[in-house]
């Protein structure tokens, strides 16, 4: 009985050690997950837009894209933003993605939101960080590939991006 228990516990310990070793090995070989950094990299906003859209032109989206963000953000760590795009949201004509881009952030691409027609409305809201005063853009990518952009300058009293 006592012998049996000892054996089980040794097995458990060995299994635990093996698992820990595997985790450590993965951790050292991939210090930073490539997938996690795919969207948000430290780059200039031009580089970010080029990476996302290639050279596709950004058309003026005023009237179609509605960007709601405070003009003055007292606390850059939490800035509420909502984006709404007027679209019939049918399989033939809908909004595929909404991008939120903060020009002055070190990681300018804030978020990408993907929609399917069943969403009924291209609407998203989020709390974002802003490092300093600068433009915030909302870019809507429609199902035919058209990119519609709208920009708004936000004054930031206390930056919230740190690094």
């Amino acid at each position: 009985m006592a012998d049996d228990r000892a054996r089980v516990s040794r097995r458990v310990v060995l299994a635990g050690l093996a698992a820990a070793g595997a985790v450590a090995a993965v951790g050292t070989s991939a210090p930073r997950s490539a997938a996690a950094q795919a969207l948000g990299a430290q780059e200039s906003v031009e580089a970010g837009l080029k990476r996302l859209f290639g050279g596709r032109p950004l058309k003026d989206g005023s009237g179609v894209v509605k960007l709601d963000i405070p003009l003055i953000a007292e606390n850059g760590a939490v800035v509420p933003v909502t984006v709404e795009v007027t679209s019939p949201m049918t399989p033939a004509n809908h909004v595929k993605h909404i991008y939120v881009v903060a020009d002055k952030n070190r990681i300018p691409i804030v978020t990408r939101v993907a929609f399917i027609p069943e969403a009924g409305q291209a609407y998203m809201g989020a709390n974002i960080r802003l490092g300093e005063t600068g433009d915030v853009r909302a870019i809507a990518e429609q199902s035919d590939g058209t990119l519609l952009q709208i920009k708004r300058e936000v004054k930031v009293t206390v930056g919230g991006c740190g690094g």
Binding site: G27, P31, V79, I107, T111, E118, I128
Partner: protein
């Protein structure tokens, strides 16, 4: 913080069939920012932040957010869905540390 991963979802109290409803969701998460040492160099470590938010309704991914560290701590997201049938709405938040936090809300008609 022991509260990490606490998810709250709010749907309108009365929903009519076929209506487009706005849903708000919140998760408690630190969303670690990039840290720098005294020389201003980025400290290379695995930062824990949410990269993916998926909204599933009636077995379909309706809305998906890909997020970066430019999203606030304890992130809040809102989105719209067309409530065609009663069913469960599920929001899953996934972070870089492999954590998956999910919350559900029932869509039912008054």
């Amino acid at each position: 913080m022991s509260d990490i991963g606490k998810v709250r979802i709010r749907v309108p109290s009365s929903i009519k069939a076929g209506e487009v409803v706005k849903v708000r969701s919140l998760v408690i998460h630190p969303m670690e920012r990039i840290e720098r040492d005294a020389q201003g160099k980025i400290i290379d470590k695995k930062y824990n932040f949410i990269t993916k938010v998926t909204v599933t309704y009636l077995g379909k991914t309706v809305v998906a957010f890909d997020t970066t560290q430019s999203i606030s701590e304890n992130p809040f997201f809102s989105f719209a869905i067309r409530a065609t049938d009663p069913g469960q709405l599920k929001v899953v938040f996934a972070d870089t540390a492999g954590g998956k936090y999910e919350g559900t809300a029932d869509i039912k008609f008054a």
